[in-house]
């Protein structure tokens, strides 16, 4: 099952629709990292609302996505971790250390807006006034 990746402004949104195999997850990682460069994205949102389990491989892949995207100049935020999934992750001893997580898509977009402005990377507005006047 391929994960659709949508582009919204300067951000990529990968919205996971169903259970994913390890191969699907690896494919998502590669597709996202390639697309970050191709479309000069400043942010990546991975929406995991539909995931009903996150095991060590899924958590590692999400962490890899975030770290690799950062090396390519984009911030990543994971949105929509379900309460039961969070419960099992904590019991498994899995953390998403160093990876931003917020409740939902709306907060994810707000988070990325904040981060891009902070880093002075907002491409939607010119950095300096370009007029001569």
């Amino acid at each position: 099952m391929e994960v659709p990746i949508l582009r919204q402004g300067q951000y990529l949104i990968a919205s996971i629709q169903s259970a994913l195999t390890d191969a699907d997850l690896s494919h998502l990682r590669e597709a996202l990292i390639a697309q970050v460069g191709r479309s000069r994205c400043r942010g990546v949102i991975v929406d995991v609302t539909a995931l009903d389990v996150m095991d060590s491989f899924a958590v590692r892949t999400l962490r890899d996505i975030a770290h690799m995207a950062r090396l390519r100049g984009a911030e990543t935020v994971i949105v929509g971790i379900q309460p039961d999934v969070a419960f099992a992750m904590v019991q498994l001893g899995l953390t998403l250390k160093g990876v931003a997580t917020v409740l939902d898509l709306e907060e994810g977009l707000a988070f990325l807006d904040g981060r891009t402005k902070e880093r002075g990377l907002d491409l939607t507005k010119p950095k300096r006034p370009s007029g001569r006047g």
Partner: protein, 135 residues
């Protein structure tokens, strides 16, 4: 009761299938949705272990009862290389396959009972159970 579900594990889609079947069985046994997720995650870890180390094997799911306690039993069997150093394999963060090392110790944390029986060159059998908390 007594009925078991045998699931072959030979590809990564089988890992997904095994954890989904495990969740369904845990629901039948009356586990909460949080505990169903925990059981599904544990199955995912040991099923992946089969794929990584033995390439193929089997997961056997069944309902179990102990007095008035109900539970789920998960048995993972493979004829792979076996685990040379079980103590080490059970150390959290130790991995021989560039994983995160959460596989076996992670699954153990999630379940109530966990047993590893492994013979080098012959294969590995992991038996784990989770019991429903008394209401």
């Amino acid at each position: 009761m007594g009925e078991e579900l045998r699931l072959p594990i030979a590809a990564d889609v089988d890992v997904v299938e095994a954890r989904q079947q495990g969740r369904a069985l845990a629901a039948v046994a009356g586990f909460s949705s949080g505990e169903q997720t925990v059981i599904a995650a544990a199955i995912s870890e040991i099923a992946r272990n089969i794929l990584m180390y033995a390439k193929k094997g089997e997961i056997i799911l069944s309902l179990v009862q102990n007095g008035d306690r109900q539970g789920v039993s998960v048995v993972a069997i493979d004829q792979g290389p076996g685990i040379p150093d079980i103590d080490r394999a059970m150390q959290y963060g130790y991995s021989t396959s560039h994983g995160v090392g959460a596989g076996l110790p992670g699954a153990k944390r999630l379940m109530d009972e966990f047993e590893v029986d492994s013979v080098v060159g012959r294969g590995t059998t992991i038996t784990m159970k989770k019991w429903r908390r008394a209401i």
